[in-house]
C-alpha cells in the first residue's frame, strides 16, 4: 500500500463524517400516484422497539389516534429539518422536502411503520432520492418496494455519492 493511499485513507476517515456508519435502518416503500406520492418507512426491529416503548403510551401494542398525533408532532415533523431524508431531483437540482400530508403510524409485526404522502411534482420525470448524508440513518429502497402502475414507469437504483450511499426512485409519466 502506497504512502499516499494510506494518508488518503486516514484523512478520509476524518472528513467523511464522524458518525458515518448506520445505526438506524429504514425500509422505504414508494407508491407514485397522479396527485401524490405515498411513502412508507418501516423501522428496523431494534429501533421500532425503542420508539414503540416511548410512543405506545397505554402499552396496548397498537397506536391510537392520540398516540399517532403525538408521534407526528414529537418525532416525525422534526425530521423535516433533514428533508425527511429524501430529495426530489428534477434533472438539474435536488429539492428538499418540507411538506408532508396524511401521516399515519402503525405497528406491523413488531415493526413501527410510518406512512405519509408528498405532492407529486409538476415535472414529467423526476427522481426521489433517499439518503442521510451523515449515514446515521440508512434509507433502503429495494426494487420490489417501488410500486408503480400506469401511466407511470419507474425504476430503482442505488448509487454511491462519495460520502454516503443513496437509493433513488426514478419516475416518469
Amino acid at each position: 500500500m502506497s504512502f499516499r493511499l494510506l494518508f488518503l485513507l486516514i484523512f478520509t476517515s476524518i472528513f467523511s463524517g464522524l458518525w458515518a456508519h448506520p445505526h438506524i435502518f429504514i425500509d422505504v416503500k414508494v407508491v407514485p400516484e397522479t396527485d401524490k406520492i405515498t411513502i412508507s418507512w418501516a423501522f428496523d426491529a431494534m429501533t421500532s422497539a425503542m420508539l414503540i416503548k416511548d410512543y405506545d403510551t397505554n402499552k396496548d401494542k397498537q397506536l391510537d389516534s392520540s398516540e399517532i398525533a403525538f408521534i407526528e408532532k414529537d418525532h416525525f415533523k422534526p425530521l423535516g429539518e433533514f428533508s425527511y431524508f429524501m430529495r426530489l431531483f428534477d434533472g438539474k437540482k435536488e429539492i428538499e422536502v418540507h411538506k408532508t400530508d396524511t401521516f399515519h403510524a402503525t405497528i406491523e409485526k413488531k415493526r413501527l411503520v410510518y406512512t405519509f404522502s408528498i405532492a407529486t411534482p409538476s415535472f414529467k420525470m423526476y427522481e426521489l432520492r433517499f439518503f442521510d448524508p451523515e449515514m446515521y440513518v440508512a434509507m433502503i429502497l429495494k426494487p420490489e418496494a417501488l410500486q408503480c402502475s400506469k401511466p407511470f414507469t419507474c425504476k430503482v437504483q442505488g448509487y454511491d455519492a462519495d460520502f454516503y450511499y443513496a437509493y433513488k426512485a426514478m419516475v416518469s409519466h
Binding site: 504512502f3 494510506l6 494518508f7 486516514i10 478520509t12 476517515s13 476524518i14 467523511s16 463524517g17 464522524l18 458518525w19 458515518a20 456508519h21 448506520p22 445505526h23 438506524i24 435502518f25 428496523d44 426491529a45 431494534m46 429501533t47 422497539a49 425503542m50 420508539l51 416503548k53 416511548d54 418525532h75 422534526p78 425530521l79 429539518e81 433533514f82 413488531k110 451523515e134 449515514m135 446515521y136 440513518v137 440508512a138 433502503i140 442505488g158 454511491d160 454516503y164 450511499y165
Partner: protein, 242 residues
C-alpha cells in the same frame, strides 16, 4: 463499498433482533449464536469512519514508538469504554431515571460529544506542543496519555450498543443484552486496533525512518489530526435527532 457496509450492518442488526426474540421465547440454544453475531456486528459496525479510529490514528502518528501490544490495548479499551458508557446510560435511563430511550439518545449524545471534543482539542494542543518541543528526541514523548485517548474517544456512548441493550431490556433479557454488548465492543475493538496497527505501520516505512524531517512532519500531522477531530466534535451540530 459503502453499500456493502450498510447491507452488512443491516443484516447483522436484523439477525441479532431475531436471535434476541428467539431467546425471549425460550430458545436458549440461540445464545451462543447471538454472542458470535454480536462480535461480528461489532467488527462490521466499526468499519465505517468514526472519531475513535481517527483519534487513535492521529495519536499513533504523533507517537510512533508505541508497541503493537499497546496499540491493541488502546483499541480494545476505546471500544470497551464506548460500549460501557452506552450501557451505563441505558441502564440508568431504564432503571433509575425512567427516561425515554430515544430522547436520552438525542439529548445526551450532543453535549457529551461536544465536551469530549473540547477535551480532545486541548489534548491535541498538548501533543502538538510536545512533538514540536521534542523534535529531535522521539523517545521523550510521553506515552502516558493512553488513558486520555481511551476515555476521550470512547466516552461518547455508542448508539449501536444503546439500541441493542434497550432492545434486550424491552424483551426482558437484560443480562444477555449486557454480554452481547460486551461481545459487540470486542468486535469493535478488533477493528479499531487493526486500523491503529495499519496507521502505525506508516511510521515504519523506510522513507519515513530514513528521513528525520518526514518522520517529524508525520508526527506533527498526527497531532494536528487530533486537534482537528476535537474541533469537529466541538462544532458538532447535533443532526442526530432520532
Amino acid at each position: 463499498m459503502i453499500q456493502l457496509l450498510i447491507e452488512a450492518n443491516h443484516y447483522f442488526n436484523a439477525e441479532l433482533s431475531t436471535y434476541f426474540e428467539n431467546i425471549a421465547e425460550g430458545e436458549w440454544f440461540s445464545v451462543a449464536t447471538l454472542l458470535a453475531f454480536s462480535f461480528a456486528y461489532g467488527v462490521v459496525h466499526a468499519l465505517g469512519p468514526g472519531h475513535g479510529k481517527a483519534l487513535l490514528s492521529g495519536y499513533l502518528l504523533a507517537h510512533p514508538k508505541l508497541k503493537t501490544s499497546h496499540i491493541f490495548r488502546i483499541g480494545f479499551f476505546i471500544a470497551l469504554v464506548h460500549a460501557f458508557s452506552a450501557l451505563v446510560l441505558s441502564l440508568s435511563a431504564t432503571y433509575m431515571i425512567h427516561a425515554s430511550a430515544t430522547k436520552l439518545l438525542r439529548d445526551v449524545t450532543l453535549p457529551m460529544t461536544q465536551v469530549s471534543g473540547g477535551l480532545i482539542l486541548l489534548m491535541g494542543c498538548w501533543i502538538l506542543f510536545e512533538v514540536v518541543r521534542s523534535r529531535r528526541d522521539v523517545e521523550k514523548v510521553d506515552t502516558k496519555k493512553e488513558l486520555s485517548v481511551i476515555i476521550l474517544s470512547g466516552i461518547v456512548p455508542c448508539p449501536g450498543v444503546m439500541t441493542l441493550s434497550f432492545f434486550a431490556m424491552t424483551l426482558g433479557e437484560l443480562y444477555i443484552g449486557i454480554v452481547a454488548a460486551l461481545c459487540m465492543s470486542l468486535g469493535m475493538g478488533l477493528t479499531i486496533s487493526l486500523v491503529g496497527f495499519v496507521t502505525s505501520r506508516l511510521t515504519h516505512l523506510s522513507m519515513i525512518q530514513t528521513q528525520p524531517l518526514w518522520f517529524w512532519v508525520l508526527r506533527v500531522i498526527g497531532a494536528v489530526m487530533v486537534i482537528g477531530i476535537g474541533a469537529v466534535l466541538v462544532g458538532f451540530s447535533g443532526a442526530r435527532s432520532f
